[in-house]
């Protein structure tokens, strides 16, 4: 597994835990986010922008595999 794949996997793990609310539960009461709605809006918007940036970085650092402009084929892992 390449470094870029590991970094993306780590990012996605944190994103999933955050977006499903697991990371933000109030540990004392197991109830309610620390974030209120205005901040919560920034929270989900932030994840959208961060995911875009992260995927863009992942995409541009992708090793070239001879993909041409039309009907290129480098389907990673496909059997």
């Amino acid at each position: 597994m390449r470094l870029r794949d590991m970094l993306l996997a780590a990012y996605l793990a944190v994103a999933v835990l955050s977006l499903t609310g697991v990371l933000f539960r109030d540990l004392a009461t197991h109830d309610g986010l620390v974030l209120g709605v205005p901040v919560g809006l920034a929270w989900v918007t932030g994840w959208a922008l961060a995911t875009f940036a992260c995927m863009a970085l992942y995409h541009v650092t992708r090793p070239e595999r001879g993909e041409d402009a039309g009907h290129g084929d480098d389907s990673e892992g496909a059997r």
């Binding site: 977006l19 309610g32 809006l41 992708r62 993909e67 039309g70 009907h71 290129g72 084929d73 059997r79």
Partner: protein
């Protein structure tokens, strides 16, 4: 001219424009099934971005999402949350599916899985699961369109008449132009509704509360507390919130009509760039939620939470021309999903059900004709559902995501696991769908029923594949050589 008449003129102009764009889109594509279903595999980046984006942002986005923010507070964030990560698997599954599609002539998700796993029975079962999810989803779009027209015309146009008129237009351009009609109208509709969403999302909080900040300051802090309320008004549990986000995220890119666009893309690069850009489309939902929050505390409240946006527009002193534009924006959201679902459902029924499942041969022209005629019964079934089902829109969509999520394990197995067998995928699909649909009638585990369904599904695929496979993996080909048929 009365205000209602002005609204109808604007809506009529928008529908005529959509029909014109959709009708002309057929030019340049072949008369084959590949042309009608996959646009001769020629879609570029712009079309793919709007097809995938606008297809997902539906009547649910313009009506259900504001309604959810209005009625359940912080719970509405799950709508953005699942979309942020939901399309990412397509970065890998999309190009893999596209390559196999080019090699074997696949045009649908079911064909791909059935072909790769050498199991004819899989295609009709996957088609059935897809249709079970498609009908409520399409019904949701129709009902949304009808609701908007009914409310904004003061009841002069009923839900039934409005839905029939709007979907009559959709039927015409999908019938004539197939996926390219869907693609170009979605591009028009996507741009249109993004502009309107931001205009409304910034205007309404300012007009009603004096600004977004002031709007939140006036609200009850408990209402804003996560994870908010369920659609029935009860406090939503964290387990339901998290599992709903997870199930909807997993199901997101496996919706057959969305997945099918992999076969329409011009290249793998186009698919990957679309996925990279996709989270930016989620930003479009922020103003949508602001619209819903703007309606909190504004009297009189709508009779149904889905009607919060049209209700606000009627209460405020807005020129009829603008109300008509907003109405057209909501219809654009409905149509941009409804057309893709309708087109996909018909092609899936014919190709997965009739050609692969029943093993029938059709010429390219006969196949296109069969898909066109299949549009009608799907439209009628969805229309009946739309006019008889009275739950809220998001609830209807959440139901639809349960069965669709069950398509993920067999598709992933067909694409990436050489040890998977047709029997395994079939067992997983049947077991997972049964659990997802049946569990709510038997027990309440406190999580979205799609989650235990996915666990059972994946387990069944692994166990049955191990029991029925050769253990050596195999090179799987399409058993019916579909490339000769396209």
């Amino acid at each position: 001219m009365s205000e209602q008449a002005q609204v109808l003129v604007v809506v009529g102009a928008y529908l005529a424009l959509s029909l014109g764009v959709g009708w002309r889109a057929a030019r340049g594509t072949s008369a084959s099934a590949t042309g009608y279903v996959a646009g001769d595999r020629s879609m570029g980046g712009l079309l793919m971005y709007f097809v995938t984006g606008a297809t997902i942002f539906s009547a649910f986005a313009f009506l259900g999402a504001p309604g959810r923010a209005f009625s359940t507070g912080g719970a509405a964030f799950h709508i953005i949350a699942f979309g942020v990560i939901g399309f990412l698997p397509f970065y890998w599954t999309g190009p893999a599916a596209a390559r196999l599609g080019r090699e074997h002539g696949y045009l649908t998700q079911g064909e791909l899985v059935a072909g790769q796993l050498r199991s004819r029975a899989l295609a009709p079962v996957m088609a059935l699961v897809g249709i079970v999810a498609f009908v409520p989803y399409l019904a949701l779009q129709m009902r949304g369109a009808g609701l908007v027209l009914e409310v904004l015309t003061g009841g002069h146009v009923s839900v039934e008449v409005g839905a029939a008129a709007v979907y009559g237009v959709v039927f015409l351009y999908v019938w004539h132009s197939g996926v390219m009609g869907v693609g170009w109208t979605n591009t028009l509709q996507g741009m249109f509704m993004m502009v309107l969403a931001w205009a409304l999302g910034l205007y309404l909080p300012r007009a009603i509360h004096g600004g977004v900040g002031a709007m939140f300051e006036r609200m009850d802090p408990e209402f804003l507390r996560m994870p908010g309320l369920s659609t029935s008004g009860e406090p939503w549990s964290w387990s339901m919130y998290g599992s709903s986000v997870l199930v909807m995220a997993i199901g997101f890119s496996f919706w057959p009509h969305l997945f099918q666009k992999a076969f329409a893309a011009r290249s793998d690069r186009v698919i990957r760039r679309t996925v990279v850009l996709y989270p930016t489309f989620q930003i479009f939902l922020v103003p949508i939620l602001l619209i819903g929050f703007a309606g909190v505390g504004y009297a009189p409240p709508p009779s149904q939470s889905d009607q919060v946006l049209p209700n606000l527009l009627l209460q405020l002193d807005i020129p009829a021309l603008l109300v008509g534009l907003f109405c057209a924006g909501a219809l654009a959201a409905s149509m941009s999903s409804g057309d893709a679902i309708l087109h996909s459902a018909a092609s899936i029924l014919v190709r997965d059900g009739w050609i692969v499942g029943a093993g029938r041969e059709l010429s390219a022209e006969a196949e296109r004709t069969a898909i066109r005629w299949t549009l009608l019964p799907i439209l009628v079934l969805s229309y009946v559902t739309a006019t008889t089902f009275h739950e809220d829109l998001v609830g209807l969509l959440a139901y639809a995501y349960g069965p669709v999520g069950q398509l993920a394990p067999p598709v992933l197995a067909a694409l990436f696991w050489r040890g998977a067998t047709g029997q395994g995928a079939l067992a997983g699909l049947v077991a997972g769908s049964t659990v997802t649909i049946g569990l709510p009638f038997v027990a309440d585990l406190g999580v979205h029923p799609g989650l235990p369904g996915l666990a059972v599904n994946a387990l069944a695929i692994v166990v049955v594949s191990k029991l029925t496979g050769s253990g050596q993996g195999s090179t799987r080909n399409d058993p019916r050589a579909p490339s000769s048929r396209t």
